[in-house]
């Protein structure tokens, strides 16, 4: 594949004495779907949190699109082209689905408070265009008919999809999906896998955390495995599946468990 869109170089994240990520190095290449897996507590969501600036890393460097992300404000990281979904759904419940997407899309808006106050044409034009774009995104994700419903009243599966649509609203180059299939039944998972591929084909790069192995193995081009904050594997799905260290991390070792 092509050049890396993002590189994690020796990223370490310590919380006091707890080492959540220990010298983690991997890259995400343009237009690939990279699966990020590992047992509970391996540090997957921490990876998302350090990339998006929720935590400041205590060691190493994250380079996105050729520039370091250290010390960059969270909303600016989004503006540079990284947007995420949340493992526990965190939509803005009292806003409609469309507004949820539009709010994220405002990231790249030029008009602000003053032009909005006076209803300047530039603001009105942008508003109209963004509305159309938000509707297109909802349609793309397959929840277009729910555009005008409040997010909190949407069915669970639609909320999960809206999380993705909202993140895409911010026009990211890199989309971070945190367990997008959590709570889905097998049929829904198959549908979601198709959606994720469709998103990639539309030009996005995807970093995917997912517990469902069959889903990860099916959609990912490559898989990075974390265990206790360390990277233990980084290869294509079929190689990772047979890696003894990965099997050990997931299933444990029968003897010599020291």
């Amino acid at each position: 594949m092509s050049s890396p869109l993002m590189e994690l170089k020796g990223v370490t994240m310590k919380f006091g004495g707890v080492v959540a990520l220990n010298d983690v190095t991997f890259d995400v290449k343009k237009q690939e779907i990279l699966g990020l897996i590992g047992p509970n507590g391996a540090g997957k969501t921490t990876v998302f949190n350090v990339i998006t600036g929720v935590y400041q890393i205590t060691g190493g460097e994250i380079v996105f699109d050729g520039k370091s992300l250290s010390g960059v404000k969270r909303y600016r990281i989004t503006k540079r082209g990284i947007a995420r979904t949340f493992q526990n759904i965190r939509l803005w419940g009292d806003m409609t689905a469309l507004e949820n997407v539009m709010t994220a899309a405002d990231t790249h808006k030029k008009s602000g408070l003053v032009s909005g106050l006076f209803g300047l044409p530039v603001s009105r034009r942008e508003e109209k265009r963004d509305k159309e774009r938000a509707q297109e995104l909802l349609d793309f994700i397959g929840i277009g008919e729910h555009a005008d419903r409040l997010a909190k009243n949407l069915p669970y599966g639609v909320q999960r999809r809206l999380e993705i649509a909202r993140a895409m609203g911010a026009e990211p180059k890199l989309l971070l999906l945190d367990e997008p299939a959590a709570g889905f039944n097998p049929a829904e998972k198959v549908e979601l896998a198709a959606t994720i591929r469709k998103i990639r084909d539309a030009g996005y790069t995807i970093l995917l955390i997912e517990h469902d192995m069959s889903l990860v193995m099916k959609v990912s081009d490559r898989v990075v495995v974390l265990d206790f904050g360390q990277k233990i594997a980084d290869a294509s799905p079929n190689i990772v599946q047979d890696d003894p260290r990965v099997i050990e991390a997931y299933l444990g070792v029968p003897e010599d468990a020291s």
């Binding site: 998006t52 600036g53 929720v54 969270r74 909303y75 989004t78 503006k79 947007a83 995420r84 949340f86 965190r90 939509l91 803005w92 419940g93 009292d94 806003m95 409609t96 507004e99 539009m102 709010t103 994220a104 405002d106 990231t107 790249h108 808006k109 008009s111 602000g112 408070l113 909005g116 106050l117 006076f118 209803g119 603001s123 508003e127 509707q135 349609d139 277009g144 008919e145 729910h146 555009a147 005008d148 419903r149 409040l150 009243n153 909202r166 993140a167 609203g169 911010a170």
Partner: protein, 339 residues
């Protein structure tokens, strides 16, 4: 219980542009005629009805609209809102007595001063959230009052006296007791504030505030410059409070630190919560009722505050989200088929 809010919104949405303009103008005319209804049921038997219309009612409405930007729209609990009111009033008092500037010239200066202090307070305070922010703002409200109490230039506990009334124009004279004129002046400011809030509620700023109120972390991680918008909310709220302060000083002609106690902040907050946080019509209704009620029941004398408190408690039990709560109406799911 019938849903007044939805009913109102329904009627509004079914009107064409002409219908809406007619409704709005009719409502404004009705409100503008309020000073002439002194002889009716609305009368406040003991207090001067027209004066009550100006203060507290119209003044509370204006301040409640301003505070609603901060609390209702962006979810920032500000317990020191009176500070901006005081800063507007003292700007008027000081410049009105020391310089030759008149009220209309001081009004923008007072607003600017309030906004500037909004930035001074907002930038450090808005790094905090929730209860911590509330405590800082509470402190700020008290600091402003105590500074006024101790600063010689501001007259200490004597305050400032002999503040000029606004100069008249077009044959309108602002005399000390021409309450109607002050009421209409405030009405214009209220309409301006409503226009500003409604304008800002629908576009980018409104969405940003809404997202901050509902989940600030998610907002920041999805590209909303949360800090900037929180400061903006603070500053815009302050501007409305400052405007109210200028008019207040120019009306009462005498201000002292005692006019700007914590109680005012709490009362305005009560107006917002009582009426319905986040819904501008609810907030206005709340301010009208809480401004009016104490004077309407003044004949109860000592029992007045007891009844006032009781009404608050009962209402908050019956309608915990306020009289006209913020409840967004959902349109039915789109029927159109999307390709």
């Amino acid at each position: 219980m019938i849903n007044i809010r939805d009913k109102g919104a329904e009627i509004w949405e079914n009107q064409g542009r002409a219908g809406r303009v007619a409704i709005a103008l009719g409502a404004i005319a009705l409100v503008a005629a309020l000073p002439f209804m002194g002889g009716t049921l609305l009368n406040t038997p003991i207090a001067d009805y027209e004066s009550v219309l100006v203060y507290p009612i119209a003044m509370f409405v204006l301040m409640a609209i301003g505070l609603n930007i901060v609390i209702g729209k962006s979810g920032l609990l500000d317990l020191g809102y009176v500070a901006f009111f005081a800063i507007g009033a003292y700007t008027m008092g000081l410049l009105g007595t020391k310089t030759g500037l008149n009220t209309w010239e001081i009004l923008p200066i007072g607003i600017a001063m309030a906004m500037f202090s909004g930035i001074i307070l907002g930038v450090p305070a808005l790094k905090l959230r929730g209860d911590y922010l509330a405590i800082i703002t509470l402190g700020f409200g008290e600091i402003v009052r105590i500074v006024a109490l101790n600063l010689g230039a501001l007259g200490r506990s004597e305050g400032i006296q002999g503040i000029p009334t606004p100069p008249g124009f077009l044959g309108i004279e602002y005399a000390f007791d021409s309450h109607r004129i002050y009421f209409w002046t405030l009405l214009i400011l209220i309409l301006l504030a409503i226009w500003m809030v409604r304008r800002l509620s629908v576009r980018r700023a409104g969405r940003a505030w809404e997202s901050i109120r509902q989940d600030e972390d998610a907002a920041e991680l999805l590209g909303v410059p949360t800090f900037r918008y929180k400061v903006w909310a603070f500053v815009l709220g302050a501007s409305v409070g400052g405007a109210a302060g200028v008019i207040y000083a120019s009306k009462t002609l005498f201000i002292a630190p005692d006019n700007f106690t914590l109680q005012i902040s709490i009362l305005i907050l009560a107006c917002v919560v009582f009426g319905g946080m986040g819904n501008i019509w609810g907030v206005i209704l709340g301010a009208v009722i809480l401004g009016y009620l104490p004077d309407r029941i003044r004949f109860l004398s000592e029992a007045r505050l007891l009844v006032f408190g009781l009404v608050l408690v009962i209402m908050m039990n019956l309608r915990p989200d306020g009289l006209l709560p913020r409840k967004k109406r959902e349109k039915a799911p789109n029927k159109k088929v999307n390709s």
